[in-house]
């Protein structure tokens, strides 16, 4: 028993040493954007041109918050949420992406029509059409969580 424990400890220790030697020696990139940004969607390349984000190695231009970026922001969030966190607290994401949300994001943000917000007022009828055209878009938020309300009709 003791021999096994000793061997396991040695293996773990060696494993940790090897793993640590693999860790990048580079410094972490800035946790927050150093300057306050204006209201509205930022166009990063306006200031950063063709530069790349240090540590992320991606072009600043690829973070320009165009309509296409906002619609496909999951790719960035899935790959590198730390770059999102430079400007957004997690509560910003939670306005829409909660496992259980208190109210429609469009109601919570009723004073912010500039923000993309699913299910604007009047969606109760429209969801019966959207759901037939593309039910997979519903699944992303309601497939595994945030679907207590759905069960009222969809038993």
């Amino acid at each position: 028993m003791l021999k096994k424990f000793a061997l396991l400890s040695v293996a773990l220790g060696l494993g940790l040493m090897v793993a640590c030697s693999w860790i990048s020696p580079k410094g972490s990139f800035a946790p927050t954007h150093p300057q306050a940004l204006d209201n509205g969607r930022p166009t990063c390349s306006d200031c950063h041109g063709t530069d790349r984000v240090s540590g992320s190695e991606k072009t600043f231009a690829s973070f320009n918050h165009t309509e296409a970026f906002v619609a496909n922001h999951k790719f960035q969030a899935n790959q590198d949420p730390a770059t999102c966190a430079a400007c957004h607290a997690q509560s910003f994401c939670a306005d829409c992406h909660g496992g259980k949300t208190a109210m429609l994001p469009s109601v919570k943000l009723g004073n912010r029509p500039d923000r993309v917000s699913p299910h604007r007022t009047g969606y109760l009828s429209l969801h019966r059409i959207d759901g037939k055209i593309d039910p997979t878009s519903c699944f992303e938020c309601h497939g595994r969580a945030n679907n207590e309300k759905c069960t009222a009709c969809h038993k």
Binding site: S28, M103, G122, S125, L126, R128, I133, A145
Partner: protein, 461 residues
């Protein structure tokens, strides 16, 4: 167990904030009131009160790298309580300790976390860690107990929790300058699939997914991103005689910046229902046994016509085997006035879709085609702010569509007035008037109080 978890989180909250040097505390209180008038049913009045609370405490114990983050809400209904199904409800969205290393973008989170890496987002009570490795590699991993939401009463709820007993996964990626990043990720939800249970269960709430993702931006003018997700669970129950695809999803987009003012984006999505819906907690709606696929191709053009005017044109063609094809096309314009105190937007989209075939003789075939119009404006001057949002939907086949009760036009107007009493205290009141096919005329009033104190570094945008 739930009470012990809550107690532990409360203790972490108190201890965490007490040890912090910088604490940002934010609350949003929302009081709503509306009456629902549904033809054929008695009127109902809802008066829910909701409190959102967020805490970001940094420099815990004097350590720059250690922080605590929490966000949650509680709601009580002072009306007839039908809206939330009881007197009160609530949720802890997240609450975790975070340690950021100065080197390698390394980070550890522990508590109730929302995992975004790889195949997220998903909520779990557990641990997540990530670090950059040498030569452009990076690795992240997570493990914990999935947060199980109450979807059902009775037996099914038990089996959701039983099957989804543990979640784990991670992502391994390689990135290089002048090319981009490629990664593979794995996610497993639950260790008790339905097929392996001694008491047979028809629904499998578990899933095992393997994904490959890519982001290529070899220059500032081209950006390609996307992922392919595979369903790698080998023991799932299928309809006899069928061999559904194991590809859950292809989802890709490519953006080309034509010049400083114009960029074009193309998208492609393909989803196979059996694999994409794996592990759903709402199988009656997201039916894995539906044969066929969903595919969509789209394109959009963004034109920065002026420094403060952005115009977007977009089109999307989708195909669903069981319901036919649809094309959504339209545009949007956003204008920011020079002083940045007024922002306005307008959008129009037309959806042309195939007819839905009748399920039985009771209904005739009807069209899903419709159009959407939206105009909005928001302004602020000094301590005052205001916004107006108008939406109108026009359905082509309201007479035949049994869900629309003959109403071809639905509309909604939301107006809001705000007052910034102090730098950290903002009051706003919304009034919405909605006319839809289900609840007819509905007026909703909302009062919102937002209060923050401490050093909020980010997050409110």
């Amino acid at each position: 167990m739930i009470y012990r978890t809550r107690l532990a989180l409360l203790a972490a909250l108190v201890a965490g904030t007490a040890m912090a040097q910088d604490v940002a505390f934010s609350t949003t209180s929302i009081a709503q009131a509306w009456t629902t008038k549904t033809p054929g049913f008695s009127d109902t009045t809802q008066v829910p009160l909701t409190e959102f609370v967020g805490v970001d405490a940094t420099k815990l114990g004097g350590k720059e790298a250690l922080s605590f983050h929490m966000y949650g809400w509680g709601m009580a209904d002072l009306g007839d309580q039908s809206y939330i199904g009881g007197k009160h409800t609530g949720d802890l969205t997240y609450g975790y300790l975070q340690y950021d290393f100065k080197q390698a973008n390394a980070q550890i989170k522990a508590g109730r976390i929302i995992v975004n890496q790889g195949l997220g987002p998903m909520a779990l009570d557990g641990v997540e860690a990530r670090t950059d490795l040498r030569y452009g590699f990076m690795v992240s991993a997570f493990a914990g107990t999935p947060v199980v939401f109450k979807n059902y009463s009775n037996n099914n709820q038990y089996f959701v929790a039983y099957q989804q007993d543990i979640s784990f996964g991670g992502r391994f990626a390689w990135r290089t300058a002048k090319l981009g990043e490629i990664g593979v990720s794995y996610l497993q939800d639950g260790s008790h699939p339905a097929a392996g249970l001694t008491v047979p269960q028809p629904v499998d709430y578990t899933r095992k997914q393997l994904a490959a993702d890519v982001k290529l931006d070899p220059c500032a003018f081209l950006d390609v991103a996307g992922r392919t997700v595979l369903n790698v669970a080998s023991d799932q129950i299928t309809v006899p005689g069928t061999d559904p695809s194991r590809i859950a999803e292809h989802d890709y987009k490519a953006t080309a910046k034509v010049n400083e003012k114009i960029s074009i984006t193309g998208t492609y999505v393909e989803r196979n229902f059996f694999s994409y819906y794996a592990g759903s907690t709402l199988p009656s709606l997201f039916n894995q046994d539906e044969q066929g696929t969903f595919k969509a191709t789209g394109a959009s053009l963004v034109w920065a016509a002026l420094a403060n005017l952005q115009i977007v044109g977009d089109v999307r063609r989708s195909e669903r085997t069981s319901y036919g094809d649809a094309t959504r096309a339209g545009g949007e314009a956003r204008y920011t006035f020079t002083n940045a105190h007024v922002v306005a937007g307008a959008a129009y989209h037309q959806v042309n879709a195939d007819d839905v075939l009748p399920v039985n003789a009771q209904f005739a075939a009807y069209s899903l085609s419709h159009s959407e119009e939206r105009v909005w404006v928001m302004a602020d001057r000094g301590a005052y702010s205001a916004s107006l949002d108008m939406i109108r939907l026009h359905y082509d086949d309201a007479d035949a569509n049994p869900n629309l009760h003959g109403q071809s036009i639905e509309s909604a107007i939301v107006g809001s007035l705000g007052y910034k009493a102090k730098d950290n205290l903002r009051l706003s009141a919304d009034l919405s008037v909605e006319d839809n096919a289900l609840t007819k005329s509905q007026v909703m009033a909302l009062l919102r109080v937002q209060y923050t104190f401490g050093l909020a570094a980010k997050g409110g945008k």
